[in-house]
Every structure is written in C-alpha cells, then in structure tokens.
Amino acid sequence: MPVRVVESSVPSQVSGPNSGHHSPQISSLLSVGQAFSGSQNVSSLQKQEAWKVNVRIQGCDLDRGYLCGTMEALNVPMADTPVVTFWEGEIVDIKNYTFFTGKWEAMPDDDIKHWTKFPSFAPFQSQVQADGGKSLDLSNYPFIFMRWKEQYFVNVGTDCGLTIAGFYYVCFSCADVTINGFYYDPNSSPFQKLELKSANEGKTGFSFSSYELQ
C-alpha cells in the first residue's frame, strides 16, 4: 500500500511461475485468487489514521519462493479513487530467501526488530540471530513469513503524491487465515501495521478459482 513520501522503487528480478505443471502449495488460502481485507495503520505523531486495504493473490511460484498480487488502499485522503499497487513477495523458505532482507535499506537489525513483532517468530529468534536461521526447516510450520514489495501503481501515475519505496514484513497464519504485516521504510513512520483477514466476498464458503500459464 502506498504511503506519502515520493521515491522511486527498484524493480525486482524474479521469475514468473512455472508453466503447465501443478506446483505444490503451502496453503490453499495463500494461493492465486484468494482475497484478504483489513486495514493499515498509517498513524503519525500528528494524526491517528488507518486506511482500508484489500489484497488479492495473483501469482505464486513456491519453487522460487515467489508470490505476487495487488493491494488496494481504499480511503487514501489524497486520492480520488482507491489506489491499486502491484507487489511481489519473497517467501522466507530458507532455500530461496532467509529472514535477512539484504536490500531495500534493511539491515539485519531492522529485520530482527520487525520479525520479533510477530509472536510466531519467537521460536526462531535465537537461531536467526546466531546464523541467519539457515538450518531451519519451516516447511511444516503453520505460519509463513514473507516480504512484500510494491513494484508499481496499477491505476494511478507515479505523480500521484504517494510512495511505494518501502516494503512489508509479513506473517500469514495458515490456521486463522490472517495476514499481519509491518511496513518498513526508513523515511516513513515505523511499524505501520497491516492487518488482513480472508475475505469471503459474500460467499458462504471458501471458493477457489485457478489459472495456469502455458
């Protein structure tokens, strides 16, 4: 979700999904088409403020620890319409990505400060601080840690007065189907909290659409 300071973002260099074959999924509710809604606290010292947020997962490639989707901020004061951004995610699976970000101006200290905000990170904290957690096996852990980085504005221009310079530390709970996140940007208010829940969009159940690239 965009915030107010204007700064350009660096495009990531990751691949799209594998084509034509059925890749495994870590959680059926973190798969393409799934929708989440909630809010992001964007309060500053001067003002308490929260923006409504909708998220949709659009692509997933677990082999590469890749996830992507769109994020829609609904009541952005300076925008006439909801602002939609496209984001790409790194899944902390130790194979492709570790808990250490290593880019986007995030130092290991920043990483630890943010990850420790999630109670589900507690069992790993000492190991991560010792060796980056490179020997951890997260495959059967019911929480999925990720970083989400917004890449571009979908429906507004870059001159909209908003920025997507930062990124989110994210934790998905497989059981609760909730997403919690903390926005990190050295130039923005610290620890802006993102809270999302699975959105059933008027349905009496959980439905699953699918697509497959060739």
Partner: protein, 675 residues
C-alpha cells in the same frame, strides 16, 4: 521434384537450358560429354539454376549417363595408359563429369539431394568408390558427401553385416573426400545406443579423433560425427573420454577458437552434446560464457553457419537459468532483435533466433523484461503473419514464454497491444492446426489479464473463435481452447461468464467434461470451476438445461481415473457449495447419488488418496457444506451417518500440513473434534 524432360522442355532454343538438357541424350558422345560439362558448370553455386535444371529433368538424364558409363565396364578396368599420364579415358571422363554434376545438384540444396536420390544415383556413386582411378573415387566420394550432409539422405544401417567394415575402410583410406565421406555417413546415421557402442568398440571413434588433425573438411566432419556418436550416451562418452575428459576434451575446446567459423560451430555443438549426456563434464562459468559469445558471433556469418548458430545456442541455454543470465549479459537480446529487424532474413535463421529467444525468456523475469524494454515485441508480432508456418509457430512459442510475466499481465501490458491481439485472433483461424495450438498457447497466457481489459480480445471476436475451437476434431486444439477460456474466466465478472455459458452452451460444456481426452476433461472442469466461483447468479448458470453440466461433472467424479480431473471436479463442487442452500443440497445429491452406489460414498477414496491435492479439495467441499447455515446440521448428520466424518477424524495427523489444518477446521466446525 524431377519431371520428365518431354513434359518440361517446351520452349528452349538451341542454346538454352532445354536444349542443353536434350543434348544430354545425344547419340554423339562428344556432344553428350560437352553438355554434361556445361550443365555441371552452370549449376555450381546457383540454387536457382539447379532448380531450373531439375525441373527440366536433367538429373535422371545425368544419372542415366553415369549408369551407362559404369555398365560399359571400361572405366572399371585397370587404369588406362592415358590415366597414368594424368589424363582420363573417355569413359572415366564421362563418369567424372556425371558424378560431379550429380554432386553439384546435391551440394547444399535439399531439392537437389531429393532429385539425385529419386534418380537412383546413390548406389551408382557408391560403386565409384571401388574404382581403380583415384580421381574417380574422389569425385564419387565428394558427391556422396554432399548427399550425406542432407537430412534427406537415407540412413546408413551401421549394424548390418559388412557395413561397419565398409565405414572403417572409408576412414582408413587416404583421400580426403573419402575419409570425410565416412565421417559424414556416421554423423548422419549413427543414432541408436547400440550403433554408438559398436562405433566405440570397433575403434571408429579413435580414427575420427585422429581426423581432427587433418584438413579443415576432415576436422569438421570428425566433429560432426563425434557429436552423433556421443549424443545422449554417457556410457560411450565416459568410456572414451575417461573421467576428466582428457586430451580430446581439450582438443575440442581449442577448436571453439579456430579461425574457421564452421569448425567453431561444430566444436561448440560437440561440447554441448558431451555436457548434456553426462553430469561429469560440467562446463565452467568462464567456458559457458565463451561458448555463448562464440555462438553469438557466429550469428554474423551470412551463410549456413550463421543460420545454424542460433539452434546450437538454443541447445546450450535450454532450461538453464545461469546460461540465460550469461546470454543476457552477452547482449544476446540485441543480437536477436537486430537479426529479426533485417530484411529478407533466411527463414531457417529466423526460426533458430525465435527458438533461442523463446528459450531465453522461458524462466527468468529479467529476460522477459529486457525483451519488452528493448522493443523486441514489435518485430515478433510481425512474424505472427509470416508466410511460413514454422515461423508463425516459432513466433507463437516465443511469445508464449514472454507472456508468462505475471508482472506485465497484471499491468494489462499484452491485452493493450491491439496489433498482438488482432494477429493472434487471426492465427486462431489459421489453416494449420499446429499454428492454432501454438497461438492458443499465447492466448491462454494473455487472457489472464488481471485488469478488465479483455474487451479488445472480445471485440476482435476472440471469444467466438475459442468457442469454435473447443469443438475442434483435434484434441490439442480443443484442450488449448478450453485452457484459454479457463484462464479468461479466472476471477472474471458475471458478464464474461454469461458470455461463456451462452457461447458454449451447457450441452457442449457437458460433452467436453466427458471428452475422450483427459486433458480436455481437466480443462473443461477447470473452466466450470472458474465459472461457478463468484456470485450466486454465476453458480445458478450451472443448473441450466436440467443440470447437464453438473451431471457430467458427477459422472466423471464417480468413474474418472485421473487425479487432475478429479481435483478440478472436486473444486467445482466446492465452489458450488459456497452458494445458497439449494446449491449446497445439489452438491450433496452429487456426493450421495441414489443410483450406482457402492457400500460407501465414492469420494471417500479421495480422502484416502495418496495425492494430497485431492484430499485437500475434498476436505474443502466438506468444509463448505458444513459451515454454519440453515441446512448445515442435516448435512453434517448425513456425513456422520455415511461414515465420512469418521474417516476425516483419521486424518488429523495428515502428512500434508494444509490438509491437517483444514481437517482440524472441519472437525471443529462439526463439533466432533477432540481438541
């Protein structure tokens, strides 16, 4: 194809080609010999003239002259005095001229090779290899060499009795053309594991290696034949090269820097064959870089080497991300774009470039984004209309890989491109089914458009074409058309879904669900799965025509043997079970049919399946049926009575975390969990 002289020589003057061809049948030996020489001289290096003489029926006449000369017998006697003095006798001269003419027809020209073969000249030329005169042997070998460099040459059966001895004898003779011929025959005909082993055991490979120190022709022929002898055969490679590759590996490496372009190309090809067949000759990063650079440089060659280099490059980078990065850093994309933008590019070269470009964009997003940022899309879209079918297919395959970029799909990048959409829709009407399949591959990707820009595709009658192609007699076309419709309906609005229901009709969808082809069944069910994910209205559509679609889905679920089909089918039910009470009850009716029932419901097997995806899909159906709603308790009781929930209870420690969590959800929801 050759035609008869009488049918083709309609308008020749005395000095024209027709007259010349007629003189090949002259009764005057001198006139005939002179005509033979003239034909040979005229066709050298000119494909147009070769074709023209082939059409005039020259090849059968030349073959007939050669046959007559051989039958004459004189030329196979001990070398006459004239030959000893360095001059050929008449018969030998005719043999030399006719054999040389046949070789010229075949030289670098597949139509010529086919004409020579059709005229029955191959065994005649082989006979010349036993001639006492070295010059005759040489010209015979040279002509045969031309034939064996073409894919149209017949396979030489290496395992037949006497064949191997013959090959060895060729390789051990002194004449360059003869040894080269031996190597070319091997390059052309050594294909099977057994043939490769026999070559190794007979010491043929050692002899081929020794040819690497010979003339340029021998060296090149040797490299080609070694590649054939090594291809996909790690056993032969390891036995011959030893654990570390040894001298031969290094010798081939050196040849990648040879001054001769063809040698460099063949050396690269040989190294790639070795790498692909074994896991112990992993090429170092520096060497990979060198090979990529060499092959890209060879693209500048205006001739056959330049035409072939992108194919070799493609085999080097195929499926290898590290090599994609290296090629990208070596500016491969610029080279390919420049090549594509040239006028009158040789179609073979163009196909190779498109193939290599497709490989390069198959995995890494950075390659796709470079492709798009360098404006390669524009010329590529142009090739969708190319007159040659192979090029249209290659262009589609390249686009298919480029359009795997979710980042650009999300931005609606491809659907905005009217030239692309228009060209693709036209290809859906192509006369070639292969082109249709390839085009559908691209369409399947670009219609996964997360913005609402599908209107251009619809405006160009794209959807109508997809409906039509879903009825094709060709399974791959049907399957791909459905694949495109399935992707198009991913999170689509009700209007789009209605258009699909209306355009396809429930009975067609039901027929496709029950198609003979598994891939068609899977895509048809995946399409229905998307159609019923959304509003209650969109679910309602599936009940049209007495629920014919649901019946088809139900029958597949009860007897379909394929997990992919079953998974899609269960998600159809799961999505319908997100609707109202009527919809949920309809799903219950499908799960517990009145007729054809066994001792337990069919879907119990799905819960016990070894495929976690099928277990998961089934658990989701049950979750949706028992979520709090007016009829949930009844459904829960039915599931309990039928023994389904007791099976679910046994899944609390499912090895798949996702299934385990959802089982817990289900049991908690049905208040039967002991947590």
């Amino acid at each position: 194809m050759p035609t008869t002289a009488s049918a083709s020589t309609t308008s020749g003057s005395d000095g024209g080609p027709s007259s010349l061809v007629a003189r090949l049948s002259s009764s005057d030996p001198d006139v005939k010999l002179k005509a033979l020489r003239e034909v040979k001289n005229q066709i050298i290096g000119s494909k147009t003239k070769k074709l023209s003489y082939i059409k005039l029926g020259a090849v059968p006449r030349v073959a007939s002259i050669l046959s007559a000369a051989i039958a004459d017998g004189d030329c196979f006697q001990t070398a006459p005095a004239a030959s000893v003095r360095g001059m050929l006798g008449y018969s030998s001269n005719v043999v030399v001229q006719s054999a040389a003419a046949l070789g010229s027809f075949a030289c670098g020209f597949d139509d010529g090779v086919q004409a020579v073969l059709a005229a029955g000249a191959l065994p005649l030329l082989v006979r010349l290899l036993d001639h006492p005169d070295d010059k005759v042997v040489d010209v015979g070998a040279r002509s045969l060499k031309m034939i064996y460099q073409s894919e149209f040459a017949p396979k030489y059966e290496i395992l037949e009795r006497g064949s191997l001895e013959f090959l060895v004898s060729l390789l051990n003779r002194e004449g360059e053309n003869v040894t080269e011929l031996g190597a070319h025959i091997i390059a052309h005909s050594c294909r099977t594991f057994e043939e490769q082993k026999v070559m190794l055991k007979a010491g043929v490979l050692k002899r081929l290696v020794s040819l690497l120190d010979g003339s340029v022709g021998q060296r090149d022929a040797s490299l080609g034949s070694l590649a054939a002898a090594f291809k996909n055969n790690s056993e032969v490679i390891k036995e011959f090269l030893g654990p570390h590759g040894g001298k031969l590996f290094n010798a081939i490496l050196r040849l990648t820097m040879d001054s001769n372009a063809k040698t460099r190309l063949l050396a690269c090809q040989c190294l790639i064959v070795i790498r692909d067949a074994t896991d112990c000759y992993i090429l170092e990063l520096g060497l990979n870089r060198k090979l990529v650079n060499t092959l890209l440089e060879l693209l500048d060659d205006p001739g056959q080497v330049g035409d072939e280099s992108p194919f070799v490059l493609s085999s080097l980078v195929l499926g290898k991300e590290d090599l994609h990065t290296i090629a990208l850093e070596a500016d491969a994309m610029v080279k390919f774009r420049d090549c594509m933008e040239k006028e009158n590019v040789n179609p073979r070269r163009l196909r190779g470039v498109l193939l290599a470009l497709a490989d390069l964009c198959s995995k890494l997003e950075i390659c796709r984004s470079t492709f798009l940022s360098m404006q390669v899309l524009k010329p590529l879209v142009g090739f969708l209309n190319h007159k040659e079918e192979d090029i249209r297919i290659a262009a589609c395959n390249c686009l298919k890989n480029v359009t795997r970029s979710i980042k650009n799909l999300c931005a609606g990048y491809f659907m905005k491109n009217e030239a692309l959409v228009t060209a693709l829709v036209l290809l859906l009407m192509d006369a070639s089914e292969e082109v249709q399949v390839a085009a559908l591959g691209v369409v399947s990707n670009i219609v996964v458009d997360f913005t609402t820009q599908k209107s251009m595709f619809v405006a160009h009658e794209g959807m109508q074409q997809l409906f039509g192609l879903s009825k094709s007699m060709v399974p791959a076309v049907r399957s791909n058309a459905l694949w495109a419709l399935r992707n198009m309906t991913f999170l689509a609005d009700d209007k789009c879904k209605e258009a699909v229901y209306f355009g396809m009709t429930p009975s067609l969808i039901a027929d496709l669900i029950c198609d003979d082809e598994l891939s068609v069944q899977e895509q048809a069910l995946a399409l229905v799965r998307n159609l019923v994910d959304g509003s209650v209205e969109s679910i309602e559509q599936v009940f049209a025509d007495d629920g014919i679609i649901l019946d088809a889905a139900g029958s597949q679920l009860q007897c379909g043997p394929n997990a992919e089909v079953l998974i899609q089918g269960m998600y159809v039910l799961g999505n319908i079970a997100c609707g109202n009470e009527i919809h949920k009850e309809a799903v219950m009716c499908l799960l517990f049919p009145l007729v054809g029932r066994g001792p337990e419901p069919f879907f119990v097997n799905f819960l016990l399946s070894t495929d976690s995806r099928l277990r998961l899909a089934t658990v989701w159906v049950l979750i949706n049926l028992t979520l709090p709603s007016p009829g949930a308790l009844n459904r829960q009781q039915r599931l309990q009575k039928e023994g389904v929930l007791s099976i679910v209870r046994s899944m609390v420690n499912d090895p798949c975390l996702d299934v385990k969590i959802r089982v817990k959800t289900l049991l908690t929801q049905t208040e039967l969990g002991d947590f």
